[in-house]
Amino acid sequence: MLEVCGISVRYGAVRAVTDLSLSVAEGEIVALIGSNGAGKSTTLNAISGIVPLSGGSIRFAGEKLDGLPPHEVVRRGICQSPEGRRVFGSMSVAENLEMGGYTLAGKGAVREGMERAFALFPRLAERRSQLARTLSGGEQQMLAMARALISSPRLLLLDEPSMGLAPQLVEKVFETIVTINRQGTTILLVEQNAGMALEIAGRASVLETGSVVLSGPASDLARDPQVQRAYLGI
């Protein structure tokens, strides 16, 4: 469904991503793991059209994706829940979800999306009129994920959904990711919590200094001694 072919991204003179390729098939959970600054977020932002490519190409459902502005990428069915949650703090929970449904035509579609989100995250329904910045970290993460789901994307890009959360909340977030996937959304997951990511993903790639150094079935990577030493702390 998603084909990333040999992309490069540079910030000025700095090469953030070099000749990176990966693919995601319909229905999968694919994990991108790696340490800080390995280029994981840059890769997601390149797919979302936030940063321009300096080489390579990205195709989605057979169509060329690179070069499109971010809102066109969302229209084609890819939505990102960014690192650090980045909810709109001075807007209410409901308004945040409305922004998530910005590309949808008509209020009915937005309301439907919200009902689906509230079914998945009942906590948000209770807080719908509260300002997003008054939510706890875990609730903000739920809101960020719910917001990215309102437009019913075919591919959901999740950037560090477990960042800064207490262990039992991390567990809950990963359970929710599996639920979202079972309901038919394909997921590309970027995580520093490599252990959990490899547990729920079907396939995974390891990034180091902007390139893929290892990729394969997640269960194989979890048993790989190099991965265990570098990312799983075993």
């Binding site: 936030i50 971010p70 969302v74 939505c79 650090g84 980045r86 001075s90 922004m99 590309t103």
Partner: protein, 291 residues
């Protein structure tokens, strides 16, 4: 007496507020001090004047026409001078803004001459109205009511409409807004349009109040309004309104106490004092920048 000065101050403050809103909204979204905004205000004043003098329109139709002219000009300036620099450094865009400002005021001087021009006699009936012992001029009432209506309309647009909500989202987090599928470039265009419309209304009202429209009116009013926006907290819409009115009232109070030659000094002294105590302005948010 006090009530009368208060009305004088609020009327002047309303004109500052109308201009300050444009500065603050644009800054809120693309972190640019749009130095050409004062010239959009000046262009609105000239458009209003020409529509009244040669178009023989009544003041309110001329006001609407002037707003339309400035909207087109504001969108044009953004498209030509700022959009190509969206990924460049802040400083480049700032220099570009200063360039546009000089260009527009010089162009106005070439087109309309260096002397101030007045609105034709009887554009708006000027008379004194006695309210609770205060002598209020009908022009001041016109300014306060018109500015009030426009600010209420702005509040409705920003709070209730789809594009208004997108504006708030983009102002809070530009990238996150883009990731949600909001066409942020369209939001920027819309923001320039709104700000320019309000500035044009301010220009026409100021032109009628002082019965003077000149090529360099944008510089002075622009700096005052910019100070008002900073005083209220740059990026905050209610802050711009509050900052404008506080500045207007402070200036008129100074004049009433006999320090009329100090009026600009008073305005800027207040700005400095407030910023010393509250660096983000009266209603400004704490700035915590993400890396």
């Amino acid at each position: 007496m006090i009530l009368q000065q208060l009305v004088n101050g609020v009327a002047l403050g309303c004109t500052y507020a109308l201009i300050a809103l444009g500065y603050t909204m644009v800054y809120g979204i693309i972190s640019l001090i749009n130095f050409a905004h004062g010239e959009i205000f000046m262009a609105g004043a000239f458009a209003g004047l020409l529509l009244v003098a040669y178009g023989k329109l009544n003041l309110f139709l001329a006001l609407a026409g002037a707003m339309l002219v400035s909207v087109l000009l504001g969108i044009g300036v953004e498209f030509v001078a700022y959009r190509p620099l969206r990924r460049a450094s802040r400083l480049s865009a700032l220099i570009s803004a200063i360039g546009v400002s000089i260009f527009l005021s010089t162009l106005a001087m070439l087109l309309f001459g260096a002397n101030a021009r007045g609105f034709p006699e009887g554009t708006f009936p000027s008379r004194q109205i006695d309210i609770f012992g205060a002598q209020i001029s009908s022009l001041q009432l016109l300014i306060i009511v018109t500015a009030g209506v426009l600010m209420l309309a702005l509040e409705l647009v920003v709070k209730k409409t789809r594009i208004g909500k997108a504006m708030r989202a983009a102002s809070e987090d530009y990238t996150a807004a883009a990731l949600m599928g909001i066409n942020v470039n369209l939001v920027v265009t819309f923001t320039f349009a709104l700000g320019s419309a309000l500035a044009a209304a301010g220009g026409v009202l100021v032109g009628v109040l002082f019965n003077a429209v000149s090529f360099n009116m944008g510089l002075h009013a622009g700096i005052k309004a910019f100070a008002a926006a900073v005083l209220g907290g740059i990026g905050s819409i209610p802050g711009a309104v509050l900052g404008g009115i506080v500045l207007g009232v402070a200036e008129i109070s100074g004049v009433a106490l006999g320090y009329s030659s100090w009026r600009d000094a008073i305005a800027f002294a207040i700005l400095v004092l407030v910023l010393l105590v509250r660096p983000t302005g009266l209603l400004g948010k704490r700035i915590d920048r993400k890396v």
